[in-house]
């Protein structure tokens, strides 16, 4: 089971994604485990605040946090695990810009997309096979003009590529608008 939750900034997508993960666990597993894959790196006061806000939001919901700013492919899970990955935009930025990141290509060439696939798309597909349910949070960064540097445009294209790849194989996809899920793809019950 793969659920993709997207939305703009401040849309309430993270809170909703947590709800989806917690609900799935409680509906499907008596003694399953709930994991939170945290991708944001601490840089400054602002990122610390953001991280603290998210920690506070998920407090008491039963998540075990795994810090994973890069190298998603190294994680291993079992069929009784529910895994929330928060979020694709940070993961892509880390893989592209962190010193140890594995996406070195900076232009919209096949090599770039191959590296994005290897670093992020395939690891998510693998998580989908391993875990009972994977909930992925991603970001809508595509509707605010394209007045960005060539490098930023490559980043946007990379994130769009990830979203499309995940959307294709996902069981469910929702865009969260003002905290409300608008389903783009929904599993038939």
């Amino acid at each position: 089971m793969l659920v993709v939750i997207t939305g703009g900034s401040g849309s309430g997508k993270s809170k909703y994604a947590e709800e989806v993960a917690v609900d799935f666990l409680h509906t499907n597993f008596q003694n399953g485990r709930l994991y939170y894959i945290a991708t944001m790196k601490s840089f400054d006061e602002e990122t610390d605040k953001k991280i603290a806000r998210h920690q506070e939001m998920r407090k008491g919901k039963g998540f075990e946090t795994i810090e994973c700013p890069i190298g998603l492919g190294n994680l291993k899970f079992t069929k009784k695990d529910v895994v929330l990955v928060e979020c694709m935009s940070n993961l892509l930025a880390n893989e592209m810009y962190a010193k140890e990141g594995s996406i070195q290509s900076r232009t919209k060439e096949p090599l770039f997309f191959q590296q994005v696939k290897d670093a992020i798309v395939h690891p998510i597909f693998s998580l989908k096979e391993q875990a009972g349910c994977v909930v992925v949070v991603t970001n809508e960064v595509f509707s605010d003009g394209l007045d960005y540097s060539e490098e930023s445009l490559t980043y946007i294209e990379g994130l769009g590529y990830i979203n499309q790849q995940l959307g294709q194989v996902a069981d469910e996809v929702a865009e969260v608008v003002c905290g409300i899920p608008v389903w783009i793809k929904k599993k038939e019950l």
């Binding site: 703009g8 401040g10 849309s11 605010d144 003009g145 946007i156 608008v177 003002c178 409300i180």
Partner: protein
Amino acid sequence: MILIVGGANQGKKAYVKKNFGEDYKIIEDYHKQVEREWNNGKNPIEEAEKLLQSTEKLVIISNELGYGLVPINKFEREYREINGRVNCYLAEQAEKVIRVICGIGTQIK
């Protein structure tokens, strides 16, 4: 209260004019109000709470922001985030939420 959201230039005001009669108090461009409050060091969520104490039937129109890369400018970065949070709060309190795209309204709550 009824909340109308959508991107810029989507026909939100025309939609409201067409669908809501004179017994509603219409508040346009609420995202600009949020910007002023944030600029003046106020807490826009608390200000929204105060607004909702009104006994009038409100229709609040607000833009959706935050559909691009995170801005380099700190104020812009914080403003779009807080505007999103205010919209989440208003949506939670609203009896109806309608999202307008290309002039077409879809009730999402």
